[in-house]
């Protein structure tokens, strides 16, 4: 797995390390959706309607950009039941994200459900540049 799950008394955390920012954001999306459902089943959708998804936002630093990314994924999944199956970053810098991708609708009873992630918390939230790339920690309220 491109991430590690760590323990929090009532909730679930992800610890990520990646060679570049794109890897970090992509791995975080995998982690988020794998915690929420059987993500592998969405990778080869059959007979599912694939919907286009676009995101475009700027923040003041990499930490806020990463938080926003996770919050967007959560909103798309929670409000619209959309699971991102293809993510193409058009621009990704520590301050800006432009993404075009596609998503498949999560259908309860048809798709496996895991955690209902309520929120991306600021608790122990961390994004940092390292010698070998980027690392981050995030705790999800479940």
């Amino acid at each position: 797995m491109p991430y590690e799950i760590f323990e929090h008394t009532a909730d679930i955390g992800l610890r990520l390390e990646a060679g570049n920012l794109e890897g970090l954001f992509r791995d975080a999306a995998s982690g988020f959706f794998e915690l929420s459902t059987d993500y592998a089943a969405f990778k080869n959708p059959s007979g599912e309607t694939i919907q286009p998804v676009e995101m475009n936002f700027q923040e003041e630093n990499a930490e806020e950009l990463f938080m926003r990314w996770l919050q967007e994924l959560l909103f798309f999944f929670s409000a619209r039941r959309l699971v991102m199956v293809d993510i193409r970053f058009i621009t990704l810098t520590p301050l800006m994200l432009k993404m075009k991708g596609s998503a498949v609708r999560f259908i309860p009873h048809k798709h496996a459900a895991r955690y209902e992630i309520k929120a991306v918390t600021h608790h122990r939230f961390r994004v940092a540049r390292t010698k070998s790339g980027w690392e981050a920690e995030v705790v999800f309220d479940v």
Binding site: I5, E7, H8, T9, A10, D11, I12, S36, T37, Q71, F75, S78, A79, R80, R81, F106, I107, P108, H111, A112, A113, R114, Y115, E116, K118, A119, V120, T121, H122, H123, F125, V139, D141, V142
Partner: protein, 484 residues
Amino acid sequence: MAGSIPLIRIDDVRWEIPVSFRKGMRVPGRIFCDEKNLPKIHTDQSLEQVVNVAFLPGIVNYAMAMPDIHWGYGFPIGGVAAMDPDEGGVVSPGGVGYDINCGVRMLRTNLTEPDIRPRIKELVGALFSRIPCGVGESGDIKLNRKEIRQVAREGSSWVIKQGFGEAHDLDHTEAGGCLEGADPQTVSERAYERGNDQLGTLGSGNHFLEVQVVDRIFEPETAACFGVAEGQITIMIHSGSRGFGYQICEDSLGMTRRALSKYGIHVPDIQLSCAPVHSSEGKQYLAAMRCAANFAWANRQCLTHLVREVFGAFLGKSPKDLGMDLVYDVSHNIAKFERFAVNGKEKMLCVHRKGATRAYAPGCEELPEAYRTTGQPVIIPGDMGRNSYLLAGTQQAMDETFGSCCHGAGRAMSRTAALKAARGHSVRKELEERGIFVMARGERGIAEEQPAAYKDVNEVVDIVSRAGLARKVARMRPLGVIKG
């Protein structure tokens, strides 16, 4: 680290973190716990969070934690803090939590265990198929934008007007199921989008619906007043404001983070971001939080209606004939303005309860006439293998904890640790062997919520009882459980 935080013993169930422990603390920390359970608190960072809460501007008397204390975000779960708005007191979204007005309600019935026991599997199956629960499940109640705004403004009373319950349910709901001052204009479009199909849904995680039986009465007169007797079937519902509230909390944290520098407030943990109660940001958060609180009460009211329908259809009698009255509904994640005596002067305070339950004493005007001599019913769910409790509020709680006590058992084990502990055996089967029938969307959820993952609620309730924060009235044990 929490292990190095000094705890001064006040008595068998009270411990204090001195205000001198860390520069910046405005008040001491006060922990309600006994010697036996103290080591469990030291296993996580929850005491550090009590210290952090003591930094908040305008905090009165103590940063408090109940015996079900465990690691939360910003505030510990089990945390209570009252702020004086006239002394620069703040309101903190982290002091309420993401699940705004998560709470519990309890219904009584005229049924006894022999009426239900032989058909408990069927009954739990009927409840499970009727009550939406789990990830991505939407409810049958679809709200347009105008209607969800009415729910946000009016809470339980609006859904009762639509036929989801009885007018007298409102008397037995904290705050009558509606906080005044909710302003739907302060709620984001995203929150409305997350909430518009979630009314009447249970959710997942630790939310549940239980069919229970009363197995012990401690105060017969009070129990009779609450409509509860030994051997009787009761129903407990634990849920909150769903995606609507989570989104409101998320939106507000961004706003209160920016308010920190604007008002020169230092907090040791960004998850404790806050704004003065009288500031525009404080007012905006409170107006939006009240919308979520009202949504949560409406949600539990709709769930109550579904439960009554299922029982009625299952037993071939009307809910009225089954005596399915609401004993009470209490919030355990909320910030409310409440009046308390501080140093002999009556003050209107902003009381934060984060995993803590209001426990008003006999005589409080806010209580319905029927409960004014007994004190407020305080509902404490345990875990799905042991017990839950019905308590009553006390004057001691009014004097010491701003009318608050614990909210549940409190987690003792992380979710991953619980999963590891469940390897090689079926929690579901073990519970079934003990006469407790559980239905959930998956085995994983049952394993994570297994009884061993929680502190023993009997010990937690014993501590609040010994501290005089609540009186034991009745104990229940589960017969059937549904979980998301």
